[in-house]
């Protein structure tokens, strides 16, 4: 029941949001909806230790597709992340005017509903449904609000991801055809996938992977990312980078890797290498970016690269690391975007060269920036550490013949990460104050940022809070 | 080679030559006339195959009614001169090549078909009116009715298309 609520609350509140005319009302309504979702998500997450919640309803009997949801640990963790991020974004957004707020909040909540569905669906067709459902509102969000190139970039993003989804659709239907009596049920899919000839598994694997790979994104399918992040409004950027990226990783963990267990090991190897290239490439590119949003975008490419490597390392530690890191990265990147947004709004520019002196003008914001930055470069006692640690360990323990090389080269990412992140901090926070009227965080911004900081530190100091449920 | 064959070849030659003239003659009226000639040759073939009824219908309906309609329209439009602007030589050549290749491609399929040993059976009376009439009204009654629907549609259409629009005239 809780699972259904997780889907329905954002859906209903989202649809209802469209009807509002007055800005404050819709803001409040959307926040109430998001908070209600958070409560439900938290409740269902708390219950995880007792049993895995499931829900099953008939949907399309003729196709063998059911409306079935399953709240596995990973799924509930991701829904929790989704449920946390949205209210935070809404709170941080509270005192900012936005055109056509009812549409904005409505679409945001619809996107949330779609994301919840992606994480909870236990039926392949349903999964695909939500996969797209999450995309559409985000496309509209990205196209309607943002920078001046937003129409182009959002469309590029949309076509890119949609192409991936369509390729997945081809694989999905092929897989469905192979099921003994036409079913999308997770277990049936698992059994069918495993029973296919190796070559077919390989082809399907590639098709699915392209879809997930674009969403993550993995090098060289990432080219939508930087421009999309750059042009979108920050709340949308957050949805894109903190949550939609996780859709790809989640998809691989639930729907790709277990479904085609017998594909050529070479695929894993290639993906690991691509992810590795992504780490180094993203990091190096982040170093030379002059636009702060692009910098964070490329850093995201690097971070996700490590998670991808973790998935394909095929070890228990790596898998746990990925799940942990998915959550933690979501929190951290949300914080980072929120701070970046505050900086952008105050300086009216994203050009790193024109920023500076934040530490003198807005010390609280600077503290937030520094803490989040260090979380992002995985300093121990921040939430970023434990996930990366488990990932490195998992990659190291992998049976892949190149496991040590992989781990060491991926480790270069933490060095490069320090370089670009500290560069950013230096350019933003340090130096002489560039502008005199830089206000520190307002109350609503404080609330959301402090919550993030608390999560960062608590999960950094006591990561077992999260790990014990895995 | 019996007389049957000889007539076949003469009729065939006749039909093909006239058909070519339909295509190449510059004056549309000539084309019409050659087409009628072709139809006659084809009717000849029908008779050769003992399908007298069709042969007659072909001459009456096709060569008679339909072609006259054509002729009528041509005359009406005063097109009975060879004023038609010619397509370039290249287009002619291309048309020839295309049609030739089409023929070639189809015939190449039959190269492997091994059809040579199939003669036309000498079944006598299927082309007679009596047989045809029975077939038509027993088995083909639905198409028969439908053809009337088709005619109705064509009639309505020809009227819609042909009639001058009153409104249009008024506005002008």
């Amino acid at each position: 029941m809780l699972l259904i609520l997780l889907l329905v609350i954002p859906l209903v509140t989202g649809l209802a949001s469209f009807a509002f005319r007055k800005t404050p009302a819709v803001k409040t309504w959307a926040l109430i909806g998001a908070l209600a979702t958070l409560v439900v998500a938290a409740l269902s997450f708390c219950g995880i230790k007792e049993s895995i919640p499931e829900a099953n309803y008939n949907w399309l009997p003729s196709l063998g597709a059911n409306f079935s949801l399953q709240g596995s640990v990973m799924a509930l963790l991701m829904t929790l992340l989704t449920a946390i991020v949205f209210p935070l974004v809404f709170i941080a957004q509270w005192n900012k005017d936005i055109e056509q707020p009812s549409r904005f909040y409505g679409l945001m909540l619809l996107a949330q509903s779609g994301l919840m569905g992606v994480f909870l669906a236990n039926d392949l067709l349903l999964f695909y449904f939500f996969w797209e459902l999450a995309l559409i509102p985000v496309y509209f969000l990205a196209g309607q609000w943002g920078g001046k190139d937003r129409i182009k970039t959002s469309f590029k993003f949309f076509v890119y991801t949609f192409l991936g989804s369509l390729l997945m659709l081809a694989g999905l239907i092929y897989l469905y055809i192979q099921t003994p009596n036409g079913s999308f049920d997770y277990n049936t899919i698992l059994a069918t996938g495993a029973s296919l000839p190796i070559a077919s598994q390989g082809t399907l694997f590639i098709l699915f992977f392209i879809a997930f790979g674009i969403k993550m994104p993995i090098f060289p399918l990432h080219s939508w990312q930087a421009s999309a992040y750059e042009q979108t409004l920050t709340p949308v950027t957050i949805v894109l980078s903190a949550l939609m990226v996780k859709m790809g990783l989640f998809g691989v963990m639930k729907w790709l890797y277990p479904v085609f267990p017998h594909v050529d090991e070479q695929f894993y190897n290639i993906i690991m290498i691509l992810a590795l290239i992504g780490i180094l490439y993203g990091s190096l590119l982040a170093i030379v970016q002059t636009d702060i949003k692009r910098l964070v975008a490329y850093s995201s490419l690097a971070h996700v690269g490590l998670m991808i490597m973790g998935i394909f390392a095929q070890t228990e530690n790596a898998t746990n690391g990925v799940i942990t890191q998915m959550f933690n990265h979501g929190i951290t990147i949300t914080g980072l975007w929120l701070v970046v947004d505050m900086i952008e709004r105050r300086y009216q520019t994203r050009d790193l060269a024109s920023l500076g002196g934040l530490a003198g003008a807005a010390p609280k914001m600077t503290i937030a920036l520094v803490v989040i930055t260090f979380s992002s470069i995985a300093l121990p006692l921040t939430n970023g550490f434990v996930g990366e640690f488990l990932l490195f360990l998992g990659i190291f323990e992998s049976t892949n013949p190149n496991h040590i090389t992989f781990m060491v080269l991926a480790g270069l990412g933490i060095i490069l990460g320090a370089i670009y992140m500290l560069n950013m901090v230096q350019k933003v926070a340090y130096g002489e104050q560039k502008s005199l009227v830089i206000a520190d965080m307002s109350l609503n911004e404080k609330i959301s940022i402090y919550i993030i900081l608390i999560v960062i530190v608590v999960l950094g100091v006591y990561p077992n809070l999260l790990l014990q449920v895995l | 080679m019996n007389i049957h064959d000889i007539i076949f070849w003469i009729l065939s030659l006749w039909a093909i030559v006239c058909a070519i003239f339909v295509v190449v003659s510059r004056n549309p009226v000539n084309s019409v006339l050659f087409l009628i000639a072709t139809f006659f040759a084809i009717s000849g073939h029908y008779i050769l195959m003992n399908a007298q009824f069709l042969a007659i219908v072909n001459i009456i309906v096709y060569a008679g009614a339909i072609m006259v309609l054509f002729l009528f329209v041509i005359m009406l439009m005063n097109l009975n001169t060879d004023t038609e602007p010619q397509k370039s030589r290249l287009v002619h050549f291309a048309a020839l090549i295309s049609a030739g290749s089409l023929l070639l491609v189809i015939l190449s399929a039959f190269r492997y078909a091994n059809l040579t040993q199939v003669p036309i059976t000498d079944a006598g009376d299927i082309g007679l009116i009596k047989v045809l009439g029975k077939t038509l009204f027993e088995h083909y009654v639905l198409p028969f009715e439908l053809s009337s629907v088709l005619f109705l549609a064509a009639m309505v259409g020809a009227m819609v298309i042909g009639r001058k629009e009153v409104v249009e005239e008024k506005t002008k």
Partner: protein
């Protein structure tokens, strides 16, 4: 007569019809060439009718003629309509609709 003689003849007429369609610019002549194609079909149909000893094929020829007549009615009406507007039956004059 072996059936392929009729096949060859019919295909030849058909191909000549196609050639005419491609070669000419006069809409009426093109239409006539199409009629030629139909006749080639009729001829073959009758030949097959003999081959299979089936009167249905000849009835079919009858229907083809009927349809051809209907088409001629509509077709000529359209051509006349066009002639009224542009004073020509040259198909190349009409090229307003294009990309």
């Amino acid at each position: 007569m072996p059936i392929q003689s009729y096949l060859f003849l019919s295909f030849s007429l058909f191909a000549i019809g196609v050639m005419g369609v491609l070669m000419r610019r006069n809409a009426i002549v093109i239409f006539m060439c199409i009629e030629l194609m139909l006749n080639a079909v009729n001829l073959l149909l009758v030949a097959f009718s003999k081959l299979h000893g089936d009167a249905g094929a000849q009835v079919f020829v009858f229907f083809i003629m009927v349809v051809a007549a209907a088409e001629v009615a509509v077709g000529l009406a359209i051509i006349v309509m066009m002639f009224r507007k542009v004073n020509s039956v040259d198909i190349n004059i009409l090229n307003r609709l294009k990309n």
